[in-house]
């Protein structure tokens, strides 16, 4: 059986491009909610199988790694046009899956670090991670009901953030709010501070 792929010449104008954006932050800060708010599809769920190599056991060259566990990976999609998409990946919250970030972050345009002002320290690891690797990120302060509204400057000081890193107060349940966070990130990542 032959497969007629897209006809040559018709799609060659601009190659398809998927742009990857990460959504990081502590457990329960609203990462999946944010992806769900803006994604055109119900966040897709897949699993990454982890090998024992992944969880820190010495690699034995030439021996296939044994698969030991799985981690859920949720992502959403925004189609800009045919052949141009934004993919939002929620990063696994648990520390033991830290190594998976390296793969997720590879080639990413940038990241949104979601912060909850009641537990600001939860987003420290994500901030450190992106700072160390020079991956552009913005901080979205998710303004939960009942949480005190914070002055962005206070958040900046508390997180020890460089003055150029954008901080956006947001409500991840609101589409317009998530749009603002993402446009801020894309602008910052492309144009720089």
């Amino acid at each position: 059986m032959g497969y007629a792929a897209s006809e040559p010449g018709t799609t060659a104008v601009a190659p398809a491009l998927a742009i990857k954006i990460l959504v990081a932050g502590g457990f329960g800060v609203g990462k999946t909610t944010m992806v769900g708010t803006i994604s055109e599809i119900r966040p897709l769920h897949t699993e990454e199988l982890l090998s024992d190599r992944g969880v820190g056991v010495d690699d034995i060259s030439g021996v296939e790694a044994k698969i030991t566990t799985t981690v859920a990976l949720d992502f959403g999609r925004i189609t800009i046009r045919e052949g141009l998409w934004l993919y939002l990946f929620g990063t696994p919250g648990q520390d033991r899956f830290w190594f998976m970030w390296d793969e997720l972050a590879l080639g990413a345009l940038g990241a949104v670090v979601l912060a909850d002002t009641r537990r600001l320290q939860d987003c420290f690891p994500a901030v450190d991670y992106f700072e160390q690797r020079g991956i552009p990120f913005v901080v979205g302060v998710n303004c939960f009901e009942g949480a005190r509204r914070y002055d962005p400057d206070k958040v900046r000081r508390a997180l020890g953030l460089n003055a150029t890193i954008p901080i956006v107060l947001c409500d991840v349940r609101e589409r317009d709010s998530v749009k603002e966070v993402l446009t801020t990130l894309v602008t910052y990542a492309v144009e720089g501070p």
Binding site: A4, S6, A16, L17, T46, E64, I67, L73, F89
Partner: protein
């Protein structure tokens, strides 16, 4: 992948021959997979292979292929690596986003986001 039923695991093993990593060059979660035009698949392809070849007639990122197959990303990668080795799909090489986004794409993305 949950519960006591070993069936799914055995099925996954059958798809990959127990391999945890794809053959050849590694590729990104959002690498674009495209079915090679005019390629003639061998007769012994698995249903999953056919699904991929059908789906990727439109260029499709790896993560979407995994979600479509309802398979873990690593398993999907092994399947895609096999199809690539057979010359049935092309998988885009990894490129940093910063190098692929020119002014026009940047504008398109910003306008697209704003008009959501």
């Amino acid at each position: 992948m949950t519960g006591e039923d070993p069936g799914p695991l055995i099925r996954l093993f059958g798809l990959t021959g127990g391999r945890a990593r794809p053959q050849g060059e590694m590729f990104d979660l959002v690498a674009i997979v495209t079915t090679v035009y005019g390629a003639r698949p061998p007769v012994d392809l698995l249903p999953e292979h056919h699904t991929v070849l059908q789906l990727c007639r439109r260029p499709t990122p790896v993560a979407d292929v995994a979600a479509h197959l309802r398979l873990p990303v690593n398993i999907t990668r092994v399947i895609l690596g096999d199809l690539r080795r057979e010359g049935l799909v092309a998988i885009e090489r990894p490129r940093p986003a910063a190098q692929t986004i020119d002014e026009r794409i940047y504008r398109e993305v910003l306008d697209g986001l704003r008009s959501l």
